[in-house]
Subunit: 427 residues, 2 copies
């Protein structure tokens, strides 16, 4: 009966969409260390108090403060042309007058390894077509250091996406401490393919990459928390969350403005409906998922003494498209899986009743490492990577009805789990 009320209320409310509109249109993108992110945090705390939620608070987290600065990429020869690029998060800068060198284009790490020392002094361009995110993102994460190992002076990575309209995708990269640090940027599919053609024709294209990227001192930020306190077992927690930070382009609408709004709206809606479950539902709007996971780590550290009381943690960080159900960590106890499968039947009417074989999330990862059972809100991912980490991750890409369906899905699951008479299952 509660499920029907929740679904009905979620699907007839425009409250979630209006909040996401404020977040995206009025605040905008929210990289760690930016004024926008802190403005979003202050706004959320204030609004959550107005919502009448329990234990509203901002838990301080120090976050990395990487800033992009000016950046550009220029083809110098065989012809002169400006090329579309977007620096990768965590990258170092080039010298002020840039790095000018020949480009060597490879389609995969194997090709790089076969070239080996022949890339010394050159700019390695990874032109790896998108297969799936987990596989292709390795070029973004590791490309710089793997090229630096052979003496490359900079690296460029084809954007991690299946489609492009000259659309560059940023995202985090990591330096291997054993290798020299070299600057690294994303290029569009179009630019990668242009350089590939020139490479294959033996034209030895040369490039000039300029980047001002740098780290400022760590900045103060916070995880934002609001609760619906449980009636019978208030110390037992069902955690739902997403991340409040985003990259510094677009609006961070799907990634992950939508996700934090889903978590927040879940507790607000239940509160409004007077549906208070036996256990506590805690919404956490994590900071610094994109370039540090400091929010997820800080939450684990600050809540160590109650970690064992977290009976389930659900992260929403795959966009707010049509929900399909949940992904439950593969190592979850069988009883938990059986319970979630049973509860998901309440969502069959909106087509969100799948419990996938695996799930979890970056922000809840540190908790999961300590034994908390983790899950993800799973959605139709067909178009997520088209706009992921780009200037095109904007509110117009969010379908209000699909967002409402995500809220309904999360709220039914969180409420029902939190209100179970029996335990959800052994940890």
């Amino acid at each position: 009966m509660a499920a029907a009320r929740i679904i009905g209320a979620a699907l007839t409310s425009d409250h979630a969409y209006a909040r996401l509109a404020y977040l995206t249109d009025h605040i905008g993108n929210r990289l760690s260390g930016s004024k926008n992110l802190e403005q979003a945090i202050d706004w959320a705390v204030s609004e959550m108090k107005r919502d009448g939620l329990d234990n509203v608070r901002a838990e301080k987290v120090m976050v990395p403060h990487w800033v992009r600065g000016e950046e550009s990429l220029e083809l110098l020869s065989p012809v002169s042309r400006k090329l579309q690029m977007l620096g990768l998060g965590n990258s170092i800068a080039t010298p002020a007058d840039g790095i000018a060198a020949e480009a060597v284009v490879v389609r995969d790490f194997g090709e790089l390894d076969r070239l080996g020392e022949r890339v010394r002094g050159k700019i390695v361009v990874y032109n790896a077509p998108f297969t799936n995110y987990g596989a292709t993102v390795l070029y973004r994460l590791q490309g710089a250091s793997r090229a630096a190992r052979y003496g490359a002076v900079a690296a460029l990575v084809r954007s991690i996406t299946p489609v492009s309209l000259q659309t560059p995708h940023t995202g985090a990269m990591n330096y291997d401490p054993g290798q020299p640090k070299i600057p690294v940027a994303a290029v569009t599919i179009e630019v990668a393919e242009l350089l590939q053609r020139m490479n294959d024709r033996g034209e030895h294209p040369t490039l000039r990459l300029k980047m001002e990227a740098k780290f400022l001192p760590d900045a103060e930020s916070a995880n934002v928390i609001a609760e619906l306190k449980g009636t019978e077992k208030p110390d037992e927690v069902v955690l739902i969350g997403g991340h409040f930070d985003s990259w510094d382009v677009g609006q961070g609408a799907h990634d992950d403005g939508g996700g934090v709004i889903v978590a927040w709206e879940t507790v607000r809606l239940l509160k409004q409906l007077g549906l208070r479950p036996r256990r506590t539902i805690r919404a956490v709007l994590y900071t610094n998922e994109e370039n540090g996971t400091r929010g997820g780590n800080a939450y684990r550290d600050a809540h160590r003494t109650e970690i064992a009381k977290h009976i389930l943690a659900i992260e929403s960080d795959s966009g707010v498209y049509r929900p399909e159900g949940f992904g439950l960590v593969a190592t979850a106890p069988l009883q938990v899986r059986a319970n979630l499968q049973e509860i998901a039947k309440l969502l069959a009417g909106i087509g969100a009743n799948q419990i996938a074989e695996n799930g979890g999330g970056a922000d809840i990862g540190p908790m999961m490492h300590e034994g908390v059972v983790g899950a993800s809100l799973d959605v139709d991912g067909t178009h997520y990577f088209d706009i992921h980490h780009t200037p095109a991750d904007t509110l117009d890409k969010v379908n209000p009805r699909e967002l409402a369906l995500c809220v309904a899905t999360m709220a039914v699951m969180a409420y029902t789990v939190a209100d179970l008479e029996e335990p959800l299952g052994h940890r």
Copy 2:
């Protein structure tokens, strides 16, 4: 038999693609008045002579020389943000410090007319969703003057496209001589929707538009012509063509680099195969289609005495996607239509045997006005307007096999018409 040879040769050759690659990768986009366009013209004349084609020449045409200069659009309130834009061709500049004014967003001309004088002193933003090109492009062509009529100080037009990844589309606009000239630019779908939302929420967004756009004195350019001289009736001409100029973004690959390569490759391939028809096939690479149609007008003027001898003119300017056949001008004599339908059967094997009810083209328009029967190479247009007039109209969007199919289609039709024993049909 000739058709089978032509199709076989076209589909086993990479010559057309290699030429298009040189044009796009090494020369790049080609706006009228630019060095790139003149470089392309010189290259084509030189290469056509090397191809051994007949009567290779560049026929001088004076063309408008519009230059974009620096340009930007900024949201000033309710929040400050840079917005994606691209000035429209033929627009005037703003003052050096820009035009700052409130935005008023309308979904169509009707809404503008209902607002009337209430847009005085404001920037009119047309947020008209794409229906089809012919209908939606009216906002780009007429939007500035229709807003100026009511005292608007500038206009912005949602890009004429069904899809966007923050992708602005430029293109020509026209000033109504009866109205004040105001600057006009395209914005992305994302920006138009952002402003629409702010407008609808009553937030009175304000913008600053800066554009340096201006006309320099007319520049010298040329139509490039090469022929395969007919054996029996060399004064009768089957004209095939496209336009060599493009907008000043991307590579002008589909629009219309591919089209000119199809025309050129048609005569080169027939020459190589030793297939010389009874009548002359003339390939014309027109200049200045995009912002003036001076090439099409100049061709008509220079060839007035032989206009009556043009038995058919086929333009390729819809991209070089999978060919479907030809569009024949609706007013074509029935005998011409019957002949083309019969000839098109030769193209059934490659699925390019449709003769659509109407067709023609901008460059051959002036000739058609003088009575020449016009047609268009028709292709699958599903994705043309995704990239039309954008930085994403690049060679990677061209499928080499589809380009070869376009060459085969054009070459079979042009050769067979030119080699008919009987007349094609009464004018």
